[in-house]
């Protein structure tokens, strides 16, 4: 595999994981806010 291809592959993999983690963090923050404010659904 060429070096450039490997660089792109790794960057894509890291970008995808970062996006998932950020998404999960936003969801977690939402639920933390709900729990801290004591809202009962």
């Amino acid at each position: 595999m060429k070096l450039e291809e490997e660089i792109v592959r790794r960057q894509r993999a890291r970008a995808r994981i970062t996006a998932w983690l950020l998404g999960a963090f936003v969801v977690l923050l939402f639920f933390i806010t709900i729990a801290k404010t004591g809202i009962n659904w």
Partner: protein, 298 residues
């Protein structure tokens, strides 16, 4: 493929920086500290607290590997880690470790309470600055004092749930604190040539194999007392008491087998390997039974 200047690190190597296997014991003891508390936080806050303990442990692993990259390169056991193997540059590891540590403390403070966040920050700083930077390269007592860093998680878990100290989590702290030296010294006996090659003054390298075996046995005694103590003190029930007594007796018995072993080469160190393996199981089962006992009492 191994030029760190040209290649961004693979995500698996970034994950490996956090020492996931070590993290599992840290997370488990933190979770047990939380579940043993008299009140539980809402599920999402409890989950976040444990996540923060895990991220804090990951930060410790990353900063430890950042600082010890040169030492790791000299030891067979660690030479294939991302930094000594050249799969990642040191500055990325430093940024990752600092960022992860700061994030874990901030999130802990926002989600639970700032007392727990402060304890988490102290444990990270203690592990990195006091243990890794100061004690480890200087004294054979490194693991004795440095063991305090690994003893924090149950305390943090408890404080995250309740917001204050109590005697039981302090005992849990003491158990891990006293368990760490026999656990690590058993390992360091059969990998002592690695430590010697890296110039780390672990006890077997500095004080000799037999002296280390004596210290392992001596430390296992107060550890056993601390492990059983919650029962006579009325902090747990008989289920924990009986289990802790049996487990601690087994630990002391294995430590005694180490004491009478006279092998100098790793091939003859089966008692040490057995004690090391059992010590991991010991902590998992002891803390698991503690939680079960507390829940049975409710």
């Amino acid at each position: 493929m191994t030029n760190p200047a040209a290649l961004p690190a693979d995500w698996r190597d970034i994950l490996a920086l956090t020492k996931p296997r070590v993290m599992s014991l840290v997370v488990f003891s933190g979770l047990c500290g939380m579940l043993a508390a008299p009140q539980l936080p809402p599920l999402v806050l409890g989950f976040t607290a444990i996540l923060c303990i895990a991220l804090g442990a990951g930060a410790c692993g990353a900063l430890n590997q950042w600082y010890e990259a040169d030492i790791d390169a000299k030891m067979r056991r660690t030479a294939k880690r991302p930094l000594p193997d050249g799969r990642m540059d040191r500055q990325s590891a430093l940024h990752f470790g600092v960022g992860l540590g700061g994030f874990s403390v901030l999130l802990m403070g926002l989600a639970t309470n700032w007392f727990a966040a402060t304890l988490l920050a102290i444990s990270i700083l203690f592990y990195v600055l006091v243990y890794t930077v100061w004690l480890k390269p200087r004294t054979p007592q490194n693991i004795v004092i440095g063991g305090a860093a690994g003893a924090f998680p149950p305390l943090i878990g408890w404080v995250a749930a309740t917001g204050h100290f109590a005697f039981l989590p302090l005992l849990l702290f003491a158990i891990i604190f006293l368990w760490t030296p026999p656990h690590f010294w058993a390992l360091s006996l059969f990998v002592r040539s690695d430590y010697a090659a890296a110039g780390i003054p672990m006890l077997p390298v500095v004080a000799g194999v037999q002296n280390t075996r004596r210290q392992i046995f001596l430390y296992s005694l107060p550890m056993a007392v601390a492990a059983v103590a919650p029962w006579p003190l009325g902090l747990t029930g008989a289920v924990y008491g009986v289990a802790a007594s049996a487990l601690s007796l087994a630990f002391v018995f294995l430590a005694a087998q180490v004491l009478v072993n006279d092998a100098n080469e790793p091939a003859g160190m089966r008692p040490e390997k057995r004690l090391f393996g059992f010590s991991v199981l010991y902590l998992f089962v002891l803390f698991g039974v503690l939680v079960a006992d507390r829940w049975l009492a409710w």
